[in-house]
C-alpha cells in the first residue's frame, strides 16, 4: 500500500501478510533503498512503515505474528533498535537478534571486552551538567574506545500509552512535551495526522506560520548546538555569542505566540496566533539582525585552526554505515546522504516553497557542524521569504472528528531529523494505536557506532554533534 506523507488510508487496505512474506517484503524493500521509518506491534501484527526517499512515497506493510519470528536485524541493521523495542513492549521474540536487550528499562549486563589492559568507564545516568539522564558504558584500551553501549530509559513517561484512546484535551500537551526542544516538530506531526484523518483543510496562512515556527525552532537549536560544540572544545567566543543568539531565536518564537518553545502555537486545523503587520516587521528586523550576528559568530569557528583541528576526523561515520543504520537528520546529511523530509516528503508549506537539502561529505563532527550552519542560512532565508509573502486569510479551520478505521503516517523534518507519527483509529475514530518515532530513535546507535576507535576524551564533542534527545527516545 503506497501513500504520501500525511495521507490517510482505510486500515482494510493495508496488506495483511504472513510473517514470512512480511519479512521478505521488508528486507527486499530495504535492499532496494527504502528505509524503515517505523516498526511496531499492534493487534497481533507487526507493522512496518517504509519510506522511499526518491519517489516520496511511503509504504505500509503488516504481518501476522505469534510469539516469535526470524529477526530482521542480521540482514537489516536499521531494524536493530526497533526489534529490541517490540520485544521489550510486547514480548515477541525476534529469533537470531544479535543483542536482544531492552532499550528503555536499564539493564546490567553490558557488552564486555575482556583483557588485562581493557578498562571500563561508566558515565551517567547522572551527569555533571544540567542535561538529561542516560548511561554510557565504554570499553576502553587506554584512551581508545573499543566499544560504547548506550542504555536509556530514564526518561520513560509512558507517553504513547497516554495518547492511546485519544484525541482528548491533554493529547496536544503530551505532544508538545514528547521532546521539549522539539515542541513545534512533534505537534506539527500530530496536527498533520489529525487533519488527514479528519479531512480538514488548513488555511494557507496557517501553513506559512507553521513553517516559520518550525524553522525558528531549527534555528534556535542549531545555533545553540554550534555554540555548545565550541564550548566543548574550549573555544569561548562562539560559545558565548551563540548562547545569546539562541535566546534571540527563541524570543522570536515567543513574539509570535508568547512561548519561547512554541507551546500553544500549532493546533490541529491551523495555528492559534497571528501577527499584525507591525509585529511581522519586528520579526523580520530581528531575523536580519540574528542572521548578521550568527554569520560572524559561527564564521569564527571555520576560521579558527584550533577548532578545525578538533572537529575534523572526530567521530567519523561512513556513508555506507549511515545508510545501513538508517540515520536521519543532520547526522545523515553530514555523511553525504540527501535525506530531508522537507524535500523528499513535502507537506504543508514545503509543498509550495523549496528548502534546499544541506549536505556535507565528511561524516565527522565538522560535517555535522557545517550542515547545521548551512541549514541555519537556508532556514533564515526561508523564514524571511515566507514572512514577506504571508498569504492572507484565516489561520485555523474548525477541527472535525477523526474518521474510523484509518491509518495515517505523518512525517516532519524536525531540527534533529525525521519525526514520524503513525496514527491508527478504531471504530469510533479514537486512537487505537499512536506510534511516535523521534529522530533520536534512529540516531542513538549511530552515535555509539561513531565512537568506535575514537578517543574517549572526544566523546562529549561527538555526543554534542549528534545532540540527541533522551526523552524523545524514551517517550
Amino acid at each position: 500500500m503506497k501513500m504520501r506523507n500525511a495521507q490517510s488510508v482505510p486500515l482494510s487496505e493495508i496488506p495483511r501478510l504472513a510473517i514470512g512474506e512480511f519479512r521478505v517484503e521488508v528486507l527486499r524493500a530495504v535492499r532496494e533503498g527504502e528505509r524503515l521509518c517505523a516498526f511496531f506491534h499492534h493487534g497481533g501484527r507487526l507493522w512496518a512503515v517504509l519510506a522511499c526517499d526518491e519517489s516520496g512515497l511511503l509504504r505500509l506493510v503488516s504481518g501476522e505474528v505469534q510469539d516469535s519470528y526470524a529477526a530482521l536485524t542480521p540482514e537489516c541493521p536499521q531494524a536493530h533498535w526497533f526489534e529490541r523495542e517490540v520485544c521489550e513492549e510486547s514480548g515477541i521474540r525476534p529469533e537470531g537478534h544479535p543483542w536482544l536487550r531492552p532499550i528503555r528499562s536499564g539493564y546490567a549486563d553490558f557488552y564486555r571486552v575482556e583483557g588485562d589492559e581493557v578498562h571500563e568507564v561508566a558515565v551517567g545516568p547522572v551527569h555533571a551538567g544540567v542535561i538529561e539522564p542516560g548511561h554510557f558504558r565504554f570499553q576502553c584500551h587506554g584512551e581508545d574506545v573499543l566499544h560504547l553501549e548506550i542504555a536509556l530509559g530514564y526518561q520513560r513517561r509512558g507517553a504513547q500509552a497516554l495518547i492511546q484512546g485519544g484525541p482528548d484535551r491533554r493529547t496536544v500537551h503530551v505532544m508538545e512535551t514528547l521532546a521539549g526542544d522539539t515542541s513545534i516538530g512533534h505537534v506539527l506531526a500530530y496536527a498533520q495526522a489529525m487533519e488527514s484523518l479528519s479531512g480538514t483543510r488548513v488555511p494557507a496562512r496557517a501553513l506559512a506560520w507553521r513553517g516559520v515556527a518550525l524553522e525558528l525552532e531549527r534555528l534556535a537549536n542549531h545555533c545553540g548546538d554550534l555554540g555548545a560544540l565550541a564550548n566543548d572544545v574550549g573555544y569561548l567566543p562562539t560559545a558565548s555569542f551563540c548562547g545569546r543568539l539562541r535566546g534571540d531565536f527563541l524570543n522570536m518564537t515567543a513574539l509570535l505566540c508568547g512561548s519561547r518553545f512554541g507551546r500553544g502555537l500549532v493546533r490541529p486545523g491551523g495555528v492559534r496566533f497571528d501577527a499584525e503587520p507591525g509585529r511581522i516587521e519586528d520579526l523580520l528586523r530581528r531575523l536580519e539582525a540574528a542572521a548578521r550576528d550568527s554569520a560572524s559568530a559561527v564564521g569564527l569557528l571555520w576560521k579558527s585552526n584550533s577548532v578545525m583541528g578538533r572537529f575534523e576526523d572526530t567521530g567519523k561515520l561512513s556513508r555506507e554505515d549511515c545508510l545501513a543504520l538508517g540515520l536521519v537528520g543532520p547526522a545523515a546529511r553530514a555523511c553525504g546522504v540527501e535525506r530531508d523530509v522537507r524535500h523528499d516528503f513535502p507537506h504543508g508549506i514545503y509543498s509550495y516553497a523549496q528548502v534546499p537539502v544541506s549536505t556535507a561529505q565528511t561524516g565527522d563532527v565538522l560535517g555535522r557542524a557545517f550542515v547545521r550552519w548551512l541549514e541555519m542560512q537556508r532556514s533564515l532565508a526561508f523564514a524571511k521569504e515566507t514572512l514577506e509573502h504571508l498569504p492572507t486569510g484565516s489561520i485555523a479551520a474548525a477541527p472535525a472528528p477523526c474518521a474510523p478505521e484509518r491509518i495515517c503516517v505523518s512525517l516532519v523534518e524536525g531540527w534533529r531529523g525525521e519525526i514520524c507519527h503513525v496514527a491508527l483509529t478504531d471504530g469510533a475514530g479514537r486512537f487505537a494505536r499512536y506510534q511516535v518515532v523521534d529522530a533520536s530513535f534512529h540516531n542513538w546507535f549511530g552515535l555509539a557506532h561513531a565512537m568506535r576507535g575514537q578517543q574517549i576524551s572526544d566523546f562529549p564533542l561527538c555526543n554534542k554533534s549528534f545532540n540527541l534527545s533522551y526523552c524523545g527516545h524514551d517517550l
Binding site: H119, E120, V121, A122, V123, A128, G129, G142, E143, A230, D232, V233, G234, Y235, L236, P237, A239, S240, F241, R244, S304, S306, V307, G309, R310, T314, Q455, I456, S457, D458, F459, P460
Partner: protein, 304 residues
Amino acid sequence: METGLILSSAGGIAGAALAAPLLSGVINRTKAVFAGRRGQPLLQAYHDIIKLLGKGAVYSRTTTWVFRAGPVIQFSCAALALALLPMGSRPALLAFPGDFICLAGLLALMRFFLMTAALDTGSSFEGMGASREAAFSALAEPVFLLSLAVLARLTGALSLSGMASRLALHPAEGSGPVLALTALALFVVFLAENARVPVDDPNTHLELTMIHEVMALDHGGPDLAFIQYAAQLKLWIMGILVVNALGLGGRGGWACAGGMAALAVLIGIVESTMARLRLLRVPQLMIGAGALSLLALLLTLVRP
C-alpha cells in the same frame, strides 16, 4: 643572611601567598571581557577558598590515608616551593646552588600526591585523569629542567635567585634570542602544568575530557580548598619563573607584579582565542617546547 633580608624575603612569600588567587581572577576577567560578559568578581577565588574551608569533608569508604594526605602534602610542597622563589628584587628565603632542581622536585612531589590521591578513589574518571597527568608531565618536566638549565648556563648562576638578579641587572650581551626561546618554552610548560588551554580546560564540566579538575572531583570542603590553593600557588610559582626569564622579575616589586598581571591577561587571551588541543596532540606541543629549549641550550653553548 641578614635579618633585614630574611624579613624582606619572608614578606615576598607572604605577598605571593596573598596575591596568588588573584591571578585566576584576572584570567577569568579577561576571558569575560572577550566573551562580552561582565564576569565573576576579581576576588572570587578568595571567596571560594573561604567558603570551602568552612565546610565539612566527605570521604568515600574505599579511600585510605593517601586520599586524605594528598591535599595537605600538595599544599606543603607548593608553600615550600615559594621559599625557593625569588620575587621582585628580593632574593628567595632559601637560595643555594642547584635549588631549581629542588623546585622541580617539589612540584613533582606535589603532582605525585595529587595523582595517588586520585587513584586512591578507584574511580575510572580519576584514574584517567591521573594517567593523563602522568603522561603529559613526563614530557613537561624535562622541558622545564632544560629551560632552567639554559638560564643557569646563560647567567652562570646555579640558584634561582642568582639567575633572576643577573637576568634583570646584568643581561649578557646578545642573549635576547636565547631568552625569548626559553621564555616561550617555559610559557608552554606553564600552560601545561597549570591545566590551562590548550592542554586542559579549567572551565569544562565534562569529566571525560578533564585532566587536572577530574583528579579533585572526589575531594570536598577544606581538602578541595587546599588543592585549589596549592594549584593557585603553583600558577604563581611558574608564572614568576616565566617573568624572571624575561628579566622582569629582578627589577623590583612593581615590574614583577606588572609582569604577572600581563601574564595573567595573556593566558586569558590565549584561552579566549583558541580551542583546546586534542589530547593526542598535546605530546607534540610539549616536544615542540622541548625543541625550543634545546635550541636555546645549543645557542648558549656556541656563544663565546
